[in-house]
Every structure is written in structure tokens, then in C-alpha cells.
């Protein structure tokens, strides 16, 4: 049971017309590990994540989740398979409250007419905010638009944890955040792992990645060029060389 990887992507190919975005990509995510996904712009990270979150269809290959082959044709497929993707700017609706965002698409209702159970939604949201340690006392009816960038990330991650997603994909979660806020988000990611969630962490800032991941996967020009780099044994310089391809020349 524990030996079965959470996610296995095998021989994934993706072409946009004549552009080969992914070439024979294999990626395995085990339970409870944080995997850093690295690569230069255009290396195929985003495409791979979009395939795994059901946002774009793949051309060929196979995806297994907990050993079972699945077909991903929409984001709903991924969500029901336990994969939650948190995009940087399209995770939350700024005009809606924290509670309404937490339950967006999975609203708690009462009665048969689809009336929202706002009391229960606010109650759960308040408990969740307390549990995940958002230190300031923010009422769950606060609109997302008046939160800071770090608080928004925290809400998005808390949402994924609440809905028991097995895999949380974080797309550039530390972009545009201050030092303290970045630490908050990284603490959050560790907390998610400690409660049994796996994470894929995509970031341009290698320093952030090094602080939190168990393993690093590096992509270059549509393929995975390394998938077992550990922050314990590799230096930042080593990883940068793999990303740019300089290690081949040396």
C-alpha cells in the first residue's frame, strides 16, 4: 500500500501543433513528499502541471493515481482525484469573502433550493483559519481583496488541506511576497506535508525551493533531466547548472 506512488505520469507527450512541449515525461510523486519542480522559462513546467491538473489534454501517455489509471479531461477530474492546483493569480475571487472562496464550487447548502448555509461556512472557515495559524484575527467574512499576498496564499493552501487533497500543486506561491510572508507560506507547505499531503512546489527562487522540498525535479526543453536531486546532497550551484544545462559542458 505505502509502496504505491501517489501519482505516476508515464511517457507523457504533449504537442501544440508542431511545437513539442512535453517529450516522454515520467514523473512520480510519493505520499507525503514535497517535490520541487524546477526549470527555465519554457522548459515545460507549466504544461506538465496543466496536464496533471486537467487544464490541458495530453497527446499520449498514461497517468496513474494511487495505482489506478485515470483520464484527465477537465479540472473537475483532477479535483475529484484529489489533486488541487493553486495558481498564483487565479486561485481566489477577490470580491468574495474568505468563507465563500473556501467553499467556491463546493458550497454548503441547506434545503433543496441551493440556499447557502452561510453560518456553517463561516464557522468552518473561522476554525480553519485558526487551525492553520493565521495569526491575526481575521473574520471569515472579510473579502479576499483586502488580504495581503501571503494571507491569500495561506487561504488557498488551507482550502486544499481542508478538502483533503492528496496532492497540492503550488504554482509560484512565493512570487511577490515579502520575507516574512514567504516564510509563512513555506511553513504552511511543511505543515501540509506533515498532515499527509504531497506537494509539488514550483518556484523561480531556488533558495525558497531549497528550504522546503524533499526532492527536486528539473525540466529542460520538454523533458525531465533530473528527478532525484536532494537539497541535502546537492548545492544550489549544482542545481542551477542542471537547469541551464551547464553540467553537460563541464
Amino acid at each position: 500500500m505505502t509502496d504505491t506512488p501517489l501519482v505516476e505520469m508515464r511517457h507523457i507527450q504533449k504537442s501544440y501543433g508542431r511545437v513539442h512541449a512535453l517529450r516522454d515525461v515520467n514523473l512520480t510523486i510519493r505520499r507525503g513528499e514535497i517535490v520541487g519542480l524546477l526549470g527555465d522559462n519554457g522548459a515545460g513546467k507549466s504544461t506538465l502541471i496543466k496536464v496533471l491538473s486537467g487544464a490541458v489534454p495530453y497527446t499520449s501517455g498514461e497517468i496513474r493515481i494511487k495505482g489506478q489509471p485515470v483520464t484527465m479531461t477537465s479540472t473537475n477530474d483532477a479535483i475529484s482525484a484529489g489533486i488541487e492546483t493553486i495558481y498564483q493569480d487565479s486561485a481566489l475571487v477577490p470580491q468574495l469573502s474568505i468563507a465563500r472562496n473556501l467553499f467556491l464550487g463546493r458550497e454548503l447548502t441547506k434545503g433543496s433550493l441551493g440556499r447557502l448555509d452561510l453560518d456553517r461556512m463561516n464557522q468552518v472557515a473561522a476554525d480553519l483559519l485558526k487551525r492553520v495559524g493565521i495569526s491575526k484575527n481575521i473574520p471569515p467574512t472579510t473579502p479576499i481583496g483586502s488580504l495581503s499576498g501571503g494571507e491569500r496564499q495561506a487561504v488557498a493552501i488551507a482550502r486544499a488541506m481542508y478538502f483533503d487533497s492528496d496532492l497540492i500543486i503550488l504554482d509560484e506561491p512565493t512570487n511577490n511576497l515579502g520575507v516574512a510572508e514567504t516564510q509563512g507560506v513555506l511553513r504552511f507547505v511543511r505543515e501540509a506535508r506533515d498532515t499527509g499531503h504531497s506537494c509539488i512546489f514550483i518556484a523561480h527562487n531556488i533558495h525558497h525551493v531549497f528550504q522546503v522540498v524533499d526532492r527536486m525535479v528539473v525540466m529542460r526543453r520538454g523533458t525531465v533531466v533530473a528527478d532525484d536531486l536532494s537539497p541535502k546532497t546537492s548545492s544550489i550551484q549544482d542545481v542551477e547548472d542542471v537547469i541551464t544545462g551547464d553540467h553537460i559542458l563541464v
Binding site: 491538473s53 487544464a55 479540472t75 473537475n76 479535483i79 492546483t85 495558481y87 493569480d89 487565479s90 486561485a91 481566489l92 475571487v93 477577490p94 470580491q95 468574495l96 465563500r100 467553499f103 467556491l104 464550487g105 463546493r106 458550497e107 447548502t109 433550493l113 441551493g114 440556499r115 447557502l116 452561510l118 481583496g145 483586502s146 488580504l147 495581503s148
Partner: protein, 339 residues
Amino acid sequence: MTSTPSPAAAHPPEQGALRRFIAKPEFGPLVLLVVMLVVFTAINPAFLSLNNIGNALTFTVELGLIALAMTLLMTAGEFDLSVGSVFGFAPVVMWAFFNAGLLPLPAAFLVAMVIALGIGLVSGLFVTRLGIPSFLVTLGMLLVVRGSALWLTSGFPQRTWDAGDQWLATLLVGDFYIGGLRVYMSLIWFILLAVAFHVLLTQTRFGNWVQATGGNPGAARNRGVPIQRVKVILFMLSAAMAALAGIISSIRVSAANPNSGTGYELEVIAMVVIGGTVLSGGRGTIIGTVLGVLILRLMRNGIVLIGVPGLAYNIFIGAIILGMMALHAALERRHNAGT
């Protein structure tokens, strides 16, 4: 105040509640409405007479019905320019069927409503499936529908004076007296629908989806919200409400004129934005729209009563729109300043 060491700490809920109330998008229109009522009544006390208010409310509701649906559509980030045309077209269809003896009135009513839903469906599909901006789609639809109404009738109004003894007509526009106030059924419909739309927008799952669709479509889609279906439903709703309003109007004025409703689309959008709904989507308020409807209609009524030439009406409306937009922009900036 001086005796209390810390007034802010002593009355935090009151101050917070007051500030929250002022920050609400409905606050501006509410103040404007009260000021209007006071000024008009001070200049001409007849403005606040039961007779005048009753009359003003009657005309109000027809545009108001469209404004309710437009509020939801604009909250979802789209708008509909074809409502004025549907307002003229639907009654023409209904009365043409009825007068030709093809259908009884209720059946003709249903046919007109189904055709209106179809118009909304087509607009919605053009916007969502083909990705064409709603401005262009509904502009085209405006011309198609208005042209159909004119072509169908050869430009002549349809007679509607056989409506008197029809239960449907009584149900839609019958009148009764409460004290000295003559109340039309259409006003009751408007109140019921306003409450229903308010609950729909703020208290239901669908309402949450409408706000999310306008606020951040990408996030809504990632959460599994069917944003395209939400938009199509709202386009159909707006066309249906425009048809209902047009039919009510045709019974009240005893004529189904293929040209009626011309220019209503812009007046309705003005009502909605004055009420505090954001044109770009994400934030909408039915309460604000009701206030916006009252402001524009009572303004039209009051301006005449206080002796301003009726032709100057548009100057005031335009100035109010500009003023309200400036106010909303200022509030928005202050609201976002803390982030």
C-alpha cells in the same frame, strides 16, 4: 466624548457598523435618493402625494424588471444591449398570435417567453462558445430583434384592447387600492422578484457562482464552477425579464408598438451602475439597483414637477451617472488603499 478615555474602544461595534454601512456600495445611491426626495418635495410638495408616487412607481417597474436581471448579468461580467429590442419584440409576437386567433392569450404569452429565452440562449452561446465580447454580440442581437419586430408588423402597432377580460392581463397589470394609493399588480411582481433576485444573488450557490464568474473567471473555472453555463443562463434570464416587462407595458398602454423600448438598454445599464454594481463584474447589488431604478424614475418625474424643462432631463441623468461613478471610484480607491 472627552469624559470617555478612549471613544474608539468604548464604541467599537457602533463605529464599525457605521463605517461598514458607509463603505457599502448602496450607501451613495441611498443618500442621493433621500436628497432628491427632500429637494423635490421642498420645491413642490405635490411630489410626495400618493397620486404622484403611485403613478411614478407604475412606470418604474417595467424598466426595473429588466434592471434586476441586468444586475446579475453585469455581476457575472457581461451585459446585454438587446433588452430594449426584446422589450418591443415579445409583446408584438404575443399579440400577433392572439389577434390572428391562432392561440389563446396564455399560450401566446408562453410562446413569446420561449422565443425570448431562445434569443438569450443565442446571445449567451455567441459570447461563451465563440468568445465574442457581449457588447458586439448583443449589439447585433439588438438590430436583429428590432428588425424582426418591425418586419413582422410592417411597422404597425398590434392592438391589445381585447385584453380587458383576460385573467392573465389582470394577473400582470390589474390594479387595486391600498388606502388612497392605486397599486398595480406589476409593482407587486417587481417587489417579489426583487426579493427573489436579492436572495438568489447573496444567499444561494448559484449567486456565489455568479459573483465568482465576474470576479475571477479563471479561479471560478479552476474550482469547477461552470462559468459558461452561468453566463448563458443569465443571458436567458435577462431576455426573459425584458420580454415580461414589454408584455406588461403593452397591456398597460394598450398597444404593442414594435418600436417601444428603444434606448431602454442604456437607461437600464445606467440604473444598475448608479446602484453600485460594477461594470467589469464581480460585485453587484440588487438593493442598489432598486435604488438606482427609483433615482432615475423619480428624477424624471420630479424634474418636470419642479418646473425644469423635460428636455433637460438627460443632462441631469448624465451628471448623476458621472457623479456616482466618481464616488464609487473614490470609495474603491480608499477601500483598496489598505492592501
